[in-house]
């Protein structure tokens, strides 16, 4: 038994490492994708292109607007004099936010009436719009708060210091600077491993079927399990190696902190890779050609990635989709990756994720092995 598995392993490794191109394909694309993703994937919004239209042109209005220009979130690209220009600029996509202060702004404030700041936001990109709206509100609220305090200090200097106000004492944990690379880089590791392992495994079996060598192997006394082990162990090892490689890029190049233990990450990676091997094998049992395997792989990978919480949180998805995400192994692996990288937590916290991946791996491998027949029909 060991002799046959060893024979399979030697053969697989010879094939994988024979030519330069396939050697490169194993390690090149993950690293390149890691770099592109690391730089391109960010949902942070800064320097929002902004137009201002100040009809009041008073000390007060300029003071309010300066709070926007001083923040890193808004870049004033245009100072307008006609409000019709706003529509034009927004239609062209040149600005996303327009701030408008009407004449009489300063006067309203002085009289103790409510002054009005008009804001127009291009929300065709809902993410930018959401964040812009949030920043506008924060800046305006802070301004109002301070203005009131100053006014109260002038009118009733005795009670002013005693006015109650709740202050949010924000303590962002794990990613104190809210750096988006810290968030995305561990996620990309999960994505890359998923795509690599699933497609390599599926192709490895289907290719043998397509070129006819599978038939030759089937007539030898090799057992189903030996064959499957011989086919999957190489990709298991390659998967582990790729995990190490992209993790190193994440830590050394992007400077994402690694706060947990390598052992915990290794356990998570092993369980996750087992799940992906199961899926890759399953795809190979339903595909006759590499083309079919490619398409089936795509059909698995896309939803697995979008519903894993890779980019946006699962809690915001529709409820029935949230239930589906429990079947997605990547969901758990992302928890493990982010937990180990940023939170520095161990098995005492991650055991539910680990068990879920273990269970999924067991189910998927069992189904695939059961479906894998040593015959042609």
């Amino acid at each position: 038994m060991l002799g046959r598995i060893r024979g399979m392993l030697i053969k697989e490794f010879i094939q994988v490492f024979r030519d330069k191109r396939s050697r490169f394909l194993l390690f090149g694309p993950p690293v390149i994708q890691m770099l592109v993703f690391g730089y391109a994937a960010t949902l942070e919004i800064r320097h929002i292109p902004t137009a201002v239209l100040d009809f009041d042109n008073s000390q007060v209005s300029r003071d309010l607007l300066s709070r926007f220009t001083a923040s890193p979130y808004f870049d004033v690209r245009a100072r307008l004099s006609d409000h019709r220009q706003i529509g034009d600029l927004i239609d062209r996509g040149e600005v996303t936010v327009a701030l408008q202060i009407n004449a009489g702004f300063a006067q309203d404030l002085r009289k103790g009436q409510t002054a009005r700041l008009q804001v127009i936001v291009d929300s065709s990109n809902s993410n930018t719009a959401l964040i812009a709206v949030g920043y506008v509100n924060q800046i305006a609220a802070r301004y109002a708060q301070e203005y009131q305090r100053v006014r109260l200090a002038a009118t009733s200097p005795l009670i002013q210091p005693h006015i109650p106000s709740i202050v949010l004492d924000r303590r962002p944990w794990f990613n104190t600077d809210l750096d988006s690379q810290w968030f995305f880089v561990p996620g990309v590791i999960g994505n890359l491993i998923l795509v690599m392992v699933v497609s390599l495994t599926a192709f490895a079996v289907v290719r043998e079927r397509e070129i006819g060598t599978l038939e030759q192997i089937m007539v030898t006394p090799i057992s189903r399990l030996e064959f499957i082990l011989g086919k999957t162990v190489p990709f298991f090892l390659i998967g582990l190696f790729d995990t190490t490689l992209v993790s190193l890029v994440g830590t050394l190049w992007f400077g994402v902190p690694f706060r947990g233990s390598i052992g915990v990450l290794a356990i998570g990676a092993i369980l996750f890779i087992l799940c992906m091997l199961g899926i890759g094998l399953f795809i190979s049992t339903i595909s006759m050609t590499q083309q079919q395997a490619m398409v089936s792989g795509f059909f698995f990978n896309m939803p697995a990635i979008t519903f894993s919480g890779f980019g946006t949180p699962i809690s915001s998805m529709p409820e029935f989709m949230q239930w589906l995400t429990y079947l997605d192994p990547l969901r758990y692996f992302l928890d493990v990756l982010r937990g180990v990288y940023l939170k520095g937590v161990g098995l005492e916290v991650l055991w539910p994720q680990m068990s879920a991946m273990g269970a999924l791996a067991l189910v998927m491998l069992t189904i695939s092995v059961a479906r894998f027949r040593k015959s042609l029909d």
């Binding site: 002799g3 046959r4 060893r6 024979g7 399979m8 030697i10 053969k11 010879i14 094939q15 024979r18 030519d19 070129i211 006819g212 060598t213 038939e215 030759q216 192997i217 089937m218 007539v219 030898t220 006394p221 090799i222 057992s223 040593k374 015959s375 042609l376 029909d377």
Partner: protein, 317 residues
């Protein structure tokens, strides 16, 4: 439970259906030790399907296959240890070197390390690949590839060998060398089942089984088939113009069959002596000049054509 009295290969009422299509229809067969049995038949007749069922690659819809004394459906792994198989498509790894392919299959067949060296050199000798051990298999000429594939299929010294059109696309000289190898092995007691549609190859077999539309329509040694399978005598007719002669002969009642062979006609009649003068007259009446008309020994091809047309007519009728 290997029993030396039972034949190495036994097929009992083997049936294989793919949906509505009956690919193999109750085939019965026995092959003896050291026998070379050839499966002959047109494409799609069911030869490969039969072989694949005997190797356990396809599960029979009905019937039983017993190979090396074991039921293929029940104990496929025992069977696989004792058989060698070579498919019509070249199925070694093109991206492995010659020696790597040999070692790979040796490990799958559990060839013990103690004899590995000896088997390797035996295969290399047999395939004439000495000195080419580290050539990439994909770059070998197709005749060499076939010999290597055969070598890999017999690394474990199987007592039974299944060859599915092993020489398709191989040049005649390589084919002859290949058949010499097969005969050497048969002489050592290996039972060989081989499918082919080369008529000249069929002559190399001890016994031929003619398969048509999933059934065995005739079987016997090449000589027996040539003698017995054809009812009547075969005439060679050389004449001019050929097309008109064909028309005339097809309308003559006593002609059982007529076919064009090169620039002559092969005509089947019940009795050669009686038919020759009558046919000569009939042809010259229509203005056909006959240069030669004589009885000949039928070739396997004649037998083959005759049997399949007869069966085809039966099938239609």
């Amino acid at each position: 439970m290997t029993n030396h009295d039972t034949a190495p290969v036994i097929a009992r009422d083997l049936v294989k259906r793919f949906g509505d299509f009956v690919a193999v229809d109750r085939i019965n067969l026995e092959a003896q030790r050291g026998e070379v049995v050839g499966f002959l038949g047109p494409n799609g007749a069911g030869k490969s399907t039969t072989i694949r069922m005997l190797c356990g690659l396809l599960r029979p819809t009905a019937g039983q296959a017993i190979v090396a004394g074991y039921d293929v459906a029940r104990e496929p792994e025992y069977v696989r240890q004792r058989i060698g198989y070579m498919s019509q498509k070249f199925s070694l790894y093109n991206d492995l070197r010659v020696i790597e392919n040999i070692r790979f299959f040796a490990s799958l067949y559990d060839v013990p390390a103690s004899v590995l060296k000896e088997r390797e050199s035996w295969v290399l000798d047999m395939a004439g690949l000495n000195g080419r051990e580290s050539t990439l298999t994909g770059t070998l000429p197709s005749g060499w590839k076939q010999r290597l594939a055969l070598g890999c299929a017999v690394l474990h010294r199987p007592s039974i060998l299944f060859l599915d059109e092993p020489t398709s696309g191989v040049d005649p000289i390589s084919r002859r060398q290949f058949w010499e190898l097969i005969h050497t092995m048969a002489a050592e007691g290996v039972t060989v089942l081989v499918t082919t549609h080369y008529m000249d190859e069929a002559e190399y077999c001890n016994r031929l089984v003619l398969i048509f539309q999933g059934r065995i329509v005739a079987s016997g040694s090449p000589a027996e088939l040539k003698q017995g399978a054809m009812t009547g005598a075969l005439l060679l007719v050389e004449c001019e113009p050929l097309g008109m002669a064909l028309d005339v002969l097809q309308q003559t009642p006593e002609v059982a069959d007529v076919a064009v062979f090169g620039n002559a006609l092969h005509v089947v009649v019940p009795d050669a002596k009686a038919a020759i003068p009558r046919l000569r007259t009939a042809l010259s009446q229509q203005g056909v000049t006959v240069t030669k008309m004589e009885p000949i020994r039928p070739s396997l091809e004649d037998v083959f054509v005759s049997l399949t047309t007869a069966q085809g007519a039966l099938g239609k009728g």
